[in-house]
């Protein structure tokens, strides 16, 4: 209508100029990126010669970070969809115990045990979601109930069936199983052998394995973590469903009125979170060979912490999977770094708390700049 519409959409006198560089910086992941740089700088300066950055040391914190990443991806998407899940930790214990019961006590082939476990756990995730969506209760409460219920079952089942709360022998049962290898093995063993022969990474010089490379492959856990991060990131930012996730978390009422199937989105995200927890659990039992009733305690908090450090909003509708992955990396590096740096270990929790606080304050300020809140 008229020439008014031509009024310079590109040049607006009401907007201060921002350099493209600064604009490129302003993204939800920024907090995570800054944090990662800070953390690495810190440990490179203060713990460089502690073995933290030897090939073995790198593998050490990578594995811990990968663990956090696996559950953080699920927690991140769920949090963006506006809910969270306190039953992740209990789900980890429960899933591990199911695999052990099916695969060891009941003697099923490992692939069957794993598949049935996935089916059961994802169904429980769906149940969680269904209750939340159906009753409109806060997910805090519903999943808190499941935290207790699943942990109770994880203690009760093996106790009744096997008369103990640790079931071992899973590694033997999984020997040669095709699906088990997807969770428990290592890849690229040959590459590391070659690197060791070429003198690029160290070899053991004492003990039973003298002569072997100190790092003999990349654990499947790390592969899973990277795969889940890529999947989550593409889903969230590049698909229609990703837009629905943001919408469901941002304002469920508005999203529903606009035709987004909010209930379906939320239930699917609960299922995905349960899936990630199960991946975590199965990688763990495959590596350690046993399932215990105390596995996964407090993991729900660690997942939430990683996600929040990574810049997501606890109230939903805002966040990024890459950020969550960086949050997990920061969390893992800090945790292991403190041990490499020989910090009094009972102070570990104090540091954890302080870093968490610092990271979220940094993030909030970054988000405020993005949305121009102030």
């Amino acid at each position: 209508m008229g020439d008014a519409t031509q009024a310079s959409p590109l040049q607006d006198e009401r907007v201060k100029k921002i350099s493209p560089f600064r604009k490129a910086l302003i993204r939800p992941e920024l907090g995570g990126i800054v944090g990662t740089i800070a953390v690495f700088t810190f440990f490179l300066l203060f713990a460089f010669d502690s073995g933290m950055f030897s090939s073995q040391g790198i593998m050490n914190w990578s594995v811990v970070s990968a663990q956090f990443m696996v559950i953080a991806v699920g927690a991140c998407l769920l949090m963006i969809a506006g809910e969270f899940d306190l039953s992740v930790g209990s789900m980890i214990g429960f899933a591990g115990m199911l695999v052990a019961i099916f695969g060891v006590t009941m003697g099923w082939p490992m692939w069957a045990a794993i598949l049935v476990t996935f089916a059961i756990c994802v169904t429980i995730g769906a149940l969680n979601g269904w209750i939340v969506v159906r009753t409109g209760l806060p997910s805090f409460i519903v999943t808190l109930a499941f935290l207790f219920i699943l942990r109770g079952l994880t203690i009760f089942l093996p106790q009744t069936i096997e008369r103990k709360t640790i079931i071992g022998g899973i590694r033997d049962a999984a020997e040669g199983d095709w699906l088990g290898a997807l969770f428990g093995g290592k890849i690229l063993g040959g590459l590391f052998r070659w690197l060791a022969d070429a003198g690029l990474i160290g070899v053991f010089d004492r003990g039973a394995r003298a002569g072997e490379p100190v790092v003999d492959g990349i654990p499947m856990l790390i592969v899973w973590a990277l795969a889940l991060v890529v999947f989550g990131h593409v889903l969230l930012t590049r698909t229609k469903f990703g837009n629905w996730i943001f919408a469901s978390g941002g304002d469920p009422e508005a999203a529903r009125n606009s035709g987004v199937p909010v209930a379906k989105v939320k239930i699917l995200m609960f299922m995905f979170t349960a899936f990630c927890a199960t991946v975590f659990a199965i990688c763990q039992v495959m590596e350690f060979g046993s399932a215990g009733a105390d596995r996964g305690l407090l993991k729900e908090f660690e997942a939430i912490i990683a996600v929040v450090i990574g810049g997501a909003l606890l109230t939903g509708g805002y966040g990024s999977v890459i950020g969550a992955a960086l949050g997990a990396l920061i969390f893992g590096v800090v945790q292991q770094g403190l041990f490499f740096a020989n910090v009094e270990s009972s102070l570990f929790r104090v540091f954890l708390g302080v870093i968490l606080l610092g990271a979220v304050i940094l993030n909030t300020n970054i988000r405020r700049i993005i949305t121009g809140e102030r």
């Binding site: 040391g57 942990r151 053991f204 350690f288 046993s290 009733a293 105390d294 490499f340």
Partner: protein
Amino acid sequence: DGEKYVLVSHAPDSDSWWNTIKNAIALAGEQMGVEVEYRNPPTGDIADMARIIEQAAASGPNGIITTLADYDVLQQPIKDAVASGVDVIIMNTGTGEQARELGALMYIGQPEYDAGLAAGQRAKDDGIGSFLCVNHAIQQPTLAQRCQGFADGLGIELGSSMLDSGIDPAEIKNRVMAYLSANPDTQAILTLGPISADPTLLALEENGMAGDIYFGTFDLGDEIVKGIKSGVIKWGIDQQPFLQGYLPVVFMTNYHRYGVLPGNNVNAGPGFVTAENLDLIEEFAGEYR
């Protein structure tokens, strides 16, 4: 017949060491024809445990078998229970002297500090001068006492050699590796039970120190037994939890039925399990051993 006993422990829900005790009291209950219940504070909070003892006393059993994880906290409820006519046997943690002060019938168990001390002395004889204690439940005083005893047995300061490892196996494993790579001259490792021993075994295997470093542990389990057999673990301290669960039930039943009771306290441990004396142990590790 049909006497009712309650066993109260201080362990959190998922502590697998207590399985043996649960199995032992089930067996003893069956053999003696009595009913034995197991109770514990879900998070291991000793103040909650005191409430459970009070509750157990109020439910009017014939006897209570309890640990004495914190003398200060538990003395009053135990005294009250004794005063209201319930017989009490102290098991696992505590000392015979404390048991007597509270008016309990007897004490069956292994004083934690003494066990640690004995282990420390043994290690000192083997020429150890520095160690790492992997504590998976740092907030539980009884476990820290084991580390303290070990340090005292070696005659060194505990200092920062006690590692707060948490209970996640991957984290325990990687923290142990991180500690060892930051302190490569550590001579010995002490773990406090299967929860910390199993991942530590993997850690040592992965960083190549398995068999090289002096490794001792408390309590037994599948993996620990394998470790002792293969020589990675020098010794395991067996405090024979089976006896700690089984004997109080048997003693108490016989006391109630025939008025007989041993004149002394029973020290169920410490017994050192080494590669030489593993046979039955292997079969029943984690279940009755």
